[in-house]
Symmetry: C3
């Protein structure tokens, strides 16, 4: 067995809220095959997507009330995974069940906990509140990327790559050359980069012009906050240069002459080499303009498409160089902290004496 690439005791986004309906949605999360649906009262349910009897994916069956009926022999399972009906027999084998996973719906995502259900504390859901905060407007997507989710985390923790990968939209030389500061806590790591009095890159030039009619030099910020194991919220924006957006001693940041966005990312490991990348872009300006929401969603889609090419090529290169260890640069300080925090979570679960995670699926 190869080394674990992700902790199990964590909330992972399994779907956007609108994806989970009165229908059976199959999805692979953390190497577990799940089927998701909503009950008649709207509660999300996540069950192992394999019938107790002969393993047929339950997602090939039917939703009957709050229960799933297997599409092969008609066994029924309730939202707790208990079998409630077997064909041609009066009594139901009491051991007949499929694993049910803790589920919580928050910040417009449906989260599941593949690890020990006793530890599934909803307070541990990562903070992506901008995604449903009326002071912010935005939209997002789900992309399936054929790489280890940690490569996406690496990518987000160092935005130097914008210069080389996204030169036509958000990248410029200043990002690659500006100094940055890295800090960290027990479950978080933060990379902060301020760029003072620079020319805005095409994306931000367009935003501040639309919001404030401003076209001159800007102060720019990128504050990347990682929350282990796989969530990255990035506070980004530009303001009219010299109006106080960059905090200084004795002065808090004044962003009133600027435009602010949050790039919300949570990258769920699907298998060890594929991930479900949920992202959204939320802004605090021109909230009612759906045209801008659509433009931003499609613009970010193009930018992330550029990353996808890089990330999948990187995964193939890693597979072609077994045993290779990454070399690191100064710019990797943030991703190295993210990796360290992930590794600690994995190690904690595998410590002798740690509770065995009671999951059937391999």
């Amino acid at each position: 067995m190869s080394a674990a690439t992700f902790p199990l005791n964590a909330w992972y986004a399994a779907a956007w809220d609108h994806e989970v309906k009165r229908a059976l949605l199959p999805r692979t999360i953390a190497n577990r095959q799940l089927v998701l649906y909503r009950t008649t009262t709207g509660e999300p349910v996540a069950l192992e997507n394999a019938c107790w009897h002969r393993l047929l994916p339950l997602s090939l069956g039917r939703l009957v009330g709050d229960e799933v009926e297997c599409g092969y022999h008609g066994l029924k399972f309730d939202g707790q995974g208990r079998c409630t009906h077997m064909p041609s027999q009066e009594t139901v084998n009491p051991s007949a069940c499929v694993p049910a996973y803790p589920v919580v719906e928050r910040h417009r995502f449906v989260w599941v906990w593949p690890g020990d259900p006793a530890l599934a504390d909803p307070a541990l859901v990562p903070d992506l509140h901008w995604n449903h905060d009326p002071a912010w407007a935005g939209d997002g997507k789900l992309i399936e990327v054929a790489c280890d989710y940690r490569l996406v985390v690496d990518n987000l923790m160092d935005l130097t790559h914008e210069t080389f990968v996204h030169g036509t939209s958000i990248g410029n030389r200043e990002v690659a050359e500006a100094p940055f500061v890295t800090t960290h806590g027990d479950r978080t790591a933060t990379v902060t980069r301020w760029m003072s009095g620079i020319e805005a890159p095409p994306f931000w030039a367009s935003q501040i012009r639309q919001a404030h009619g401003y076209t001159g030099p800007v102060d720019r910020w990128q504050i990347i906050r990682f929350e282990a194991p796989c969530t990255v919220a990035i506070d980004v924006g530009v303001a009219r240069a010299g109006t106080g957006a960059i905090p200084s001693e004795g002065h808090a940041s004044d962003r009133s002459q600027g435009v602010n966005g949050f790039v919300l990312n949570t990258i769920t490991p699907s298998t060890d080499k594929t991930c479900l990348y949920f992202w959204a872009f939320c802004r605090n300006y021109l909230l009612g303009e759906q045209k801008i929401t659509t433009e931003l969603r499609e613009g970010v889609t193009r930018v992330f498409g550029e990353d996808e090419v890089i990330l999948e090529a990187q995964q193939r290169a890693i597979d072609a160089h077994p045993g290779y260890r990454f070399s690191n640069l100064n710019i990797d300080a943030g991703s190295m902290w993210a990796r360290r925090l992930i590794d600690r979570q994995i190690a904690a679960e595998q410590r002798p004496g740690a509770p065995v995670i009671p999951i059937r699926a391999a």
Copy 2:
């Protein structure tokens, strides 16, 4: 090496009779790669499909008289697999040969015996005589299914699944709820289910209306006969309710007011996870009507297409859950017997002291 999934000392259908012609037909049977053809006098031949010299598939060569000429360097092999010609040399290496397999043509199929040729007794060919009996009319097909052949046997040994998989054609609630009886012999297992005074499902309603102009309630039967390792002949039909089709003490079954079919199935393991599923549907009514033959063949094709989706999904689920053991229900009595008889055949071949099967191919 993983555990054997099928016995080698068995007749396996390799092709429909009409598929074996004056041409080279490659086919994988029981993990052996074969090439099949007919001699000038019409006898079927099965050779290992790999030239003795450099392994090129002989099926890429030419049929010359009763011999195969390799398409690379022109070596020739006769119907016993002996090399009769080598290029640029006068004498033929006497050890040059390819394995030839015992072949027999019966019940409209060409059967091969991958095991010990000394044990290849034609009397052991499974009974599918309805397929060439003038009292019966019908037709069939070959489907390649990406699953262990035993999943197809399981499927056929319990027709409860008709209710859930084939609800629009042959399934109805009565099948899932009707009691059944399981019996078995040394090489056979039989599941018998009688349904008395029920509404005919759409398929049978149409048959009895065409044959007898009858549209009322029916007695229905399903007598599933498994012959190890992989043949299942199912006696099915309906008759006007209460006319004696269901046997009772002192009275043999009287099916004169009914319609009777035989679903003939023989499922040859091609590899451990793929199979060649040969089936036919034969009936004892309206024998001369080719329209009905065609309708039945296409109708059964649709029904078996529904099974194919289930069976391949089940195989993928098994692959995704290594080490998982099936849970069983009452309805699985027939398939459990079939599995037991298959396992006995495999075990007998692997017993210390059992004759080693003299086959080159791995």
Copy 3:
């Protein structure tokens, strides 16, 4: 680890000269992933196609002057593989580099040496001089074949197969039946076959008619020269029968009444089961007629397409018969010598005490 299928201390054709440009060309040679380009002065360069930092293929980056800039974070590498720039830092880690491979351009191919650079003597480049000799005219192609390169060598070392694989173009019975002589040196093996006073096969009949207006019987020759590990130059042609083309005691060969071609082949192992097959056909007649050059190139393309089908089928058959050892015929004398010379080269590299080949890639 499986046994080596090729030596590393050898020059392998990596590209046609015209393929290597002011652009980044990815190519897999001897299981190494390379990126090829030309410097501003036209020198070919071959680097490992994986950035030192995070393994991204350098071929996804940009050529900037004589250096490659990685497409992810902008590291730059010069033609010796040394890193000359890292983003956001003043100093460059002196250990940062990617392997550079010895390269030489000769006979219209760009050759690389995957083994010990200290041994990369340009004098060892195989002799394919006809490909750029003004006394010869011709053209060729690169084909990617999904087989071990040695199967292509086998194919070329015995032209008996022309009779069976290429019966409509260059094959005829005489090739399969004519005697031949095999000789060998330390790095070469030669198979010579003379056919006296035969009917020309369609291909050669057309050539001698165009060059000499001759349509009668011919003397034909095939002199196959193998140079280890993977180059085969074949001297082929026909001449008016009885005019001295076939050498005899005291008389050198007089080919003045004939047409002569060289089939040039060098078959680079890409992986253990795929190869890059570079070939050209050069002739010494009607040099200025581009129409003939094009016809010959397309004609040979068709002929080699027939081989490709055979070779890939043979590789699949080998994979399906692990552990199988080829049986040999008299006609295999040439390919057996070629295999022996290849095996000696591989063994010499793996002898205890042989220099360890300093290559990172696996």
